[in-house]
Symmetry: C2
Subunit: 418 residues, 2 copies
């Protein structure tokens, strides 16, 4: 059997499970999450053993350290998976509720019911915890799911697959509702994202290369973000202490995350504060790459930014710094160089805050807060399947709601159209 | 200049107008709609003259009668465009509002702001009124728009383009925000739907051939529906009089619309009512194509349905009729043969109504109402840009909201992530 045919078979059986999972009561979906957690607890030793083999293969293959770190499981990380299952179980049922039921002049009542999308595909790298996170979010929202993890994690993922299937079975739900793709063949990804009519949405999680490939090849809708070139703009009426603290947190809280600030925009009227903003960043070892005006202030403590620095997602202790003439230049700089992920303003001026909020076309726009808050947990979604910088369907951190759709429902009492 | 380069130029200038239209106050967008209506009133004679030339060319080219009917303008149809402008103007501003602002435990407030998508492409056939309808909906929702009408309506559409541009100018908004594509070259459609990064969404309106072509070629998101294979299921506990009236209205109110019933499902316990349901349909000249059980009752008044009748969108006085064993068979028949557009149940049983509402995966699901109600005006949207049977983004009749997106906004007071 070809890889493509194998993927079609897995997707077909997952799709066949959709009506059952979609129409199951939330108590049954929660029961499945409980049983998956129990199976995971029972399988701790087997999982750690499988992960050890994955790690050995990764070492043999010379995988880079960051990838190996993400691949590694230990008791704390397994506890994290159990926590995730517990959190998702505690969230309210995202489907089946009827909203906005209104009476029309014709006499009919029109409302919306939230329903699952159907079959979701998740494509990800190394972290085995995504297998549990994604499966639990999809199940809770009444979807079936195809999980395609990295080949480096295949042994760990297959143990997790067994836990998930046994949990589904114990709760009386079809095991086929969650399919961990059991082939490491690279063409499985291409096959999965081509299944129009079978797969309703694909969520790629991982490096930019993976996401670009999925977006390019996909024939089904893709929920994604490519870059996080996030900005913080220090407005003329910013509180200096707040500006210093926010710039430091947005850049140095974590360097490798997509909501980390990559470019600092400083209003020319705040030029006297630039020194004080730069100091703690430099003390943390952040390399500053400044425009000409920045360089005048910081001299040899900052290198000169080249044209391409304004478009760079460093994911590292490097920060581009640019002095701008005001809120309008900040907005247009972000429009030109930003990635539509997360951008913030620091200001005490209400009008400037509102102007920035409205005009910046990013998935998260912030006033007087660190860009690092752009996250499903911080936004109260309970959990996150990913972040979307697309404008269609779901935007920003995506939780259970982004895995659902709304259909119209009409209630009449024999109403006909006149 | 190639057609492709011409379309890129039009789109680039429309895209450049996006920030201005997106950030304009609703009073200015409404003023533009008023000024477009005034220009349309002033241009009545010129528009009718241009339309006459379009009709002459259509006659010379031997266009079919239905297409010519849709192409024709008269004073009543121009009044209809003026009404549409007035209705859209009267709708509340769909953008800029902040919803669901909630305080998180971290201290930040998180909410959502509704914002325009950016640049919309509309691809349609013959009806010149779509030019005004679509332009007004896109402008009201703060979007720029590329309008690609049929070549048969090009002269009419160019007069309407002048009206729109003069209205935008009079309101102080950029004329480039609405671009009526002025070439009849067929490759303009392919060019338009390929503009990733410039066009944010495309809405094709017209025959199935057009929509399939757009969906196949598009590299940008498409809001669409292909078929309307709509069902009405007469449940065992249906009120017979209601069943008769709803079946008649759903089939015969209009034959050519996408929300017209194409298959009637009759519960086997209602077999005695089949005669009474069929009678008024036959009296209206509807051809019935029945399953074996239907045929037993109606004999020579009904032809035998072939396998493909269950998948047919007749758009004509033809109705497929099938006797089913109960609500579960009705649901599975619809899942297999329906197009996800609109399906209804007639029943007095609450449990069956709720089961049907939840389990039928269509953009509109109805209880005791005619499928003909699936429409933006009937649903209180004020106006409709189209109907979507996709599950991603917008589903069912799409009004102003479907032309918008939501971004997260975060309000802090110097909050940093711990």
């Amino acid at each position: 059997m070809t890889v493509q045919q194998h993927i079609i078979n897995l997707a077909t059986s997952a799709k066949a499970a959709c009506p059952t999972i979609a129409n199951s009561p939330v108590s049954q979906r929660n029961e499945a999450l409980t049983k998956i957690a129990e199976a995971l607890e029972t399988s701790r030793a087997a999982l750690l053993k499988a992960n050890e083999l994955d790690l050995e293969s990764a070492a043999d293959a010379g995988l880079d350290a960051a990838l190996v770190d993400r691949l590694e499981l230990n008791d704390a990380r397994i506890d994290g998976m159990l926590d995730a299952l517990s959190i998702v179980r505690s969230l309210p049922d995202p489907i089946g509720g009827i909203e906005d039921l209104k009476s029309m002049t014709s006499g009919i009542q029109v409302g919306k019911m939230r329903v699952p999308l159907g079959l979701i595909g998740i494509i990800y790298e190394s972290r085995p915890n995504v297998t549990i996170d994604a499966a639990s979010l999809c199940l809770k929202s009444g979807n079936a799911v195809m999980l395609r993890g990295g080949s480096e994690a295949i042994r760990s993922n297959l143990v997790l697959s067994d836990c998930i299937k046994s949990g589904l079975k114990a709760a009386g739900l079809p095991e086929a509702a969650v399919q961990v793709v059991d082939t490491t063949d690279r063409s499985a990804v291409s096959a999965l994202v081509s299944l129009e009519g079978l797969v309703d949405m694909v969520v790629p999680r991982g490096g930019k290369g993976l996401i670009e490939r999925v977006a390019r090849e996909a024939k089904v809708p893709v929920l994604k973000h490519l870059d996080g070139v996030c900005h913080l703009y220090i407005h003329a009426q910013a509180d200096p202490e707040m500006a210093i603290a926010l710039a430091l947190n947005a850049k140095t809280h974590r360097y490798g995350t997509c909501n980390t600030m990559e470019t600092l925009l400083v209003d020319e009227k705040m030029i006297d504060t630039l020194e004080a903003i730069a100091q703690p960043l430099l003390a943390k070892g952040v390399e500053l790459r400044g425009c000409e005006a920045t360089h005048k202030v910081l001299a040899e403590r900052c290198s000169r930014a080249s044209a391409h620095d304004w478009d760079e997602e460093y994911l590292a202790p490097i920060l581009a710094v640019k002095v701008v003439s005001g809120v309008e230049e900040a907005i247009s700089h972000i429009a030109r160089h930003g990635s539509g992920h997360t951008d913030g303003i620091v200001t005490s001026c209400h009008q400037s805050a509102m102007r920035f909020l409205r005009a910046v076309d990013s998935s998260s726009v912030m006033v007087n807060a660190s860009t690092r808050f752009a996250d499903g947990f911080e936004y109260g979604l309970g959990a996150e399947i990913g972040i979307s910088t697309d404008k269609i369907h779901a935007r920003g951190p995506v939780g259970l709601e982004g895995l659902t759709s709304q259909k119209y429902i009409v209630l009449g009492d024999g109403h006909i159209r006149a």
